[in-house]
């Protein structure tokens, strides 16, 4: 069983990562960190660079957490990608960072978090940065 966390290189992603580490320790399960990079834009703000992913690996290594860090580069929808991975590894919990979207914002820009919450087949832990 695996704790799956959707990671993005900002405060929401970092918050999710910390919560996921704690959760993995509590459940005594491995941790899978996934960063999704869209393939339909030239530059994706949510794409974690190689340097950033290496840093995450190092930090997790220092903490002694049994973990894997992956980047998904196909697909244009982060929530789809994350849900697909969750099914693939049979995640026991999905950890995501939560940012506030107004109703209008959700209408125009969509909400990955909402889709994940509604469609995940496993429990979802939604975390806000402190």
């Amino acid at each position: 069983m695996t704790v799956l966390v959707g990671y993005v290189p900002n405060s929401y992603g970092e918050a999710a990562l910390s919560a996921a580490v704690a959760e993995a320790a509590r459940r005594q399960e491995r941790l899978l960190v996934v960063n999704m990079s869209r393939d339909d834009v030239l530059a994706d703000a949510h794409r974690a660079g190689d340097g950033q992913l290496d840093r995450v690996r190092r930090d997790l290594g220092e903490l002694g957490v049994e973990s894997e860090v992956r980047r998904v580069e196909e697909g244009s929808d982060a929530s789809d990608a994350l849900l697909a991975v969750a099914n693939e590894v049979d995640a026991s919990v999905l950890v995501i960072g939560l940012r506030h979207r107004t109703p209008v914002g959700k209408l125009l820009l969509g909400s990955n978090a909402q889709r994940i919450l509604l469609e995940a087949s496993c429990p979802v832990l939604a975390v806000k940065p402190v």
């Binding site: 339909d40 030239l42 244009s76 125009l108 969509g110």
Partner: protein, 170 residues
């Protein structure tokens, strides 16, 4: 040189022959058209209107032949790379067909329906062809863009864009 397996190389080479044929055809067209023009020279203009088309026509046929010989020897041009281009897969004809379709649709509809409508269709259709799945969002952006460009350019700067059936409303 190309790193693709010989199968792909051969397909590429043969396609180049089509280009050579096209060049020769163009040359033939020029010669044919030149033949149609009467030979009109005056003291003012010694060569007449036929000279350049004839020269070009012959040159094209010659170049087509030399090109074909180069292809036969294994020559090929490098297809253009770019930041958005992934040449490992063959061309996506479906997308191209859809784009051409919407482009032609715009050409047909722009006068009767006006730029705002036909431009919206063009933008939405192109985005759809290129993989956009947020159809409502695409439509909203298309309408906004068409209206904005119409007001800014047609009305603001006097650019020649038709109002079509929305004349009087806009």
């Amino acid at each position: 040189m190309s790193h693709s397996p010989t199968g792909t190389r051969e397909v590429k080479d043969r396609a180049q022959y089509a280009l050579c044929a096209g060049l020769a055809l163009l040359g033939g067209l020029l010669l044919f058209d030149a033949g149609r023009i009467g030979h009109t020279t005056t003291t003012n203009d010694v060569v007449g209107p036929r000279a350049v088309p004839i020269v070009l026509g012959i040159a094209l046929i010659v170049v087509a032949a030399v090109y074909a010989r180069d292809v036969a020897r294994g020559g090929h041009g490098e297809a253009e790379e770019g930041e958005d281009v992934d040449l490992r897969h063959p061309a996506d004809w479906k997308t191209l067909g859809l784009l051409a379709f919407f482009f032609l649709l715009n050409a047909l509809l722009i006068d009767p329906l006006g730029w705002v409508i036909s431009g919206t269709i063009l933008f939405w259709g192109s985005a759809f062809a290129l993989g956009n799945r947020h159809h409502l969002r695409g439509l909203a952006i298309a309408i906004a863009l068409s209206l904005a460009t119409f007001y800014a350019f047609a009305i603001g700067l006097g650019v020649n864009l038709p109002a079509g059936i929305l004349k009087g409303i806009l």
